[in-house]
Symmetry: C2
Subunit: 388 residues, 2 copies
């Protein structure tokens, strides 16, 4: 937990409920331009038989009323002005007319409370105005500002250390590739997804396939990380080396190695290095193919980062419904994630090896074929999760 | 336009298409663990009648192949390894077995290209990999990293100067309010919405209702702003003063004053201070009630900020479908924006004066009743735009 000033609190997660320090808005306020009155003085008023009231003053914006409203009198009110004592309603100016200097006629009755918000209508003193665990949205900042809360306690952003492995992987700023080399595409995108999930990405860098190198790097990262993510290399050998290194970090250890998801099968989930009985650091070993890695991290890593960051229910994702343009095959017992473009209500699947990034950059979103399905027919109404 | 490094490019808007500087991935790559072969050598292979191939070497990750594949031979391949010359496919290891040291049997034929991505399959040299005007998503950063593009030209964030007006409005850090005073709730939320729309909020501060003060503040802001937003005060007097001040800023001038939208009717749209024939700075005068102001800015201000920021089509918003819990009345010829909570597929409208912020902080999203409707019946399937 840490304090943040209000102007840096957008999307941070509250670590405690926020309580109104005083009633809000704090005074009975007019919601219209018009006249503060005693409602009873307007009962029965109509165009044919208006009520007549003596105007005894006017309320200024931002100032305490200098006049009170007695029976048979009215006080001119701007929208947002403080209701004078004695008044219990405000007649809209549209339902009044100046009968003679200092006197208005009222052509419509108002009920008590009409044209007014009560002094505690937005919040009573001590009332919760923002719940614990709220991912702060723009309007939440408005409420906090109204309550004078300019600093608040939020969960620290979880530090997510991102490692890339593989002897073929070189930094993105490598100008010229030698044959067989590829630039590290996954780490940049993972850092962005971590940011989107409210985390703080930490660059662990590229670790060679040298046995022991990954284990050393992970041991160094454990004390300073809330979550560790490894692009685990795409070949069987590097995947095994990742599992070995993670396994040696200590209990609780590996939860699972292999998920019934396509793409993304060779995913490893573990929890490592927790002292006796204490929870450890979650470790996600992602598939080596950038596309598989990003699909799995979106489905599993982002909710995990959010949860570690104090957000029990992830905020809503953009989604739309569309008609599937063609049949899609799928094996039962396996979740399939299919990239699609969406136009004019039609979702068109994109195909290609999971090594291809262009499938992801062309996609507008993705659909999920559930485990129990054997596929989806053309024309099926599907939910498309949209990339924002 | 300005250059940004890749690790700060998330959600920035490209100011030019990005072109692949060389083919991607740059070499023919295995997509599986297995053996590089000439596909023709595997034709007709089956479990009953396997093909036999001599293993002449192995490809190392990240290195150029040191061997070539001739007829009748195979080279061991890790996933992601570079395909040796002479080979045109990779047989998955699952479809092979070691027949004797140095010889494998292949039990399934492969077609040319199987198990391989071509050297230019993700992108050919000179091909557009990211279009102009793209709001960069995590996967776009992956593609840019893969292409070695670590700095790129993006549109500058539009500077959006935010003014608050009204003699009743005091800064959020005001500890104790005098009667009739309210803290500036709108500016904090507007700054957040500007950030969400890719803009750079600039705090114009609170301007008094003193005639001339707003005009002077606007004139100072014009040369350093791409968009100006004014919480225009909630009373008729301050609204008029805003319109007068904006009107004096020079042509093209006020486009419209008053929108057929609820809440949000007293909205002013203008374009000010453009030199001869040049476009001016868009100016939005928002209603004084925080809730009305935020509703209007979401619908009109955010798309404007995005467009000024080089994004022709706004990215998708979170939305869901739900059944309306009760009848909603609406006047024809007016767009109604109704705040709702959503749970278990049901949208429950929230009511309350537009001065109340609690309606917005309680809401999960909003629905729009179109101009032509006279209302919506309970049970209607509605689209809810969700606050993320």
């Amino acid at each position: 937990m840490e304090p943040v000033p209000l102007d840096q609190a957008l999307r941070r997660v509250t670590a405690a409920p926020v309580i109104a320090p005083h009633p809000l808005p704090g005074f009975a306020r007019s919601t219209v331009d018009g006249y503060a009155v005693r409602a009873a003085d307007t009962y029965g008023a109509s165009e044919g038989l208006p009520g007549y009231l003596t105007v005894t003053g006017a309320v200024q914006m931002g100032a305490a009323p200098e006049v009170t409203v007695a029976a048979g009198t009215a006080v001119a009110m701007p929208t947002g002005g403080a209701l004078p004592a004695g008044a219990d309603a405000v007649v809209m100016i549209e339902y009044t007319a100046e009968a003679m200097p200092g006197t208005i006629e009222v052509i419509r009755p108002v009920a008590p409370g009409e044209g007014v918000v009560r002094a505690d209508e937005d919040a009573a003193e001590g009332q919760e105005i923002i719940p614990n665990g709220r991912v702060l949205r723009p309007q939440d900042l408005a409420m906090l500002a109204a309550a004078g809360v300019t600093s608040l306690r939020v969960h620290a952003r979880p530090v997510v250390t991102i490692f890339s492995t593989g002897d073929e992987v070189v930094p993105p700023d490598t100008a010229t590739l030698r044959p067989g080399q590829v630039r590290d595409a996954t780490a940049s995108a993972l850092a962005a997804l971590v940011t989107d999930a409210g985390g703080e990405p930490a660059g662990g860098g590229i670790v060679s396939d040298d046995p022991g190198a990954l284990e050393r790097a992970l041991r160094d990262a454990l004390p300073v990380s809330d979550v560790i993510v490894i692009s685990a290399g795409s070949s069987v050998g590097t995947r095994d080396e990742t599992a070995n290194a993670v396994g040696r970090l200590g209990p609780p250890g590996i939860w699972c190695h292999g998920l019934a998801i396509k793409p993304g099968k060779p995913t490893l989930l573990a929890e490592c290095g927790g002292p006796d009985g204490e929870p450890g650091v979650p470790v996600i070993g992602l598939p080596g193919n950038p596309r598989s890695a990003l699909v799995v991290f979106r489905l599993i890593g982002m909710p995990l980062v959010r949860r570690v960051g104090g957000c029990p229910a992830p905020p809503p994702e953009p989604a739309t419904r569309a008609r599937l343009s063609r049949d899609l095959a799928s094996a039962t017992g396996r979740l399939d994630v299919v990239q699609v473009t969406v136009a004019a209500g039609t979702a068109v699947p994109l195909f290609g090896a999971s090594a291809l990034l262009s499938v992801l950059t062309e996609a507008d979103g993705y659909i999920v074929i559930p485990e129990e399905a054997t596929g989806l027919d053309a024309g099926t109404d599907v939910e498309v999760f949209l990339y924002a």
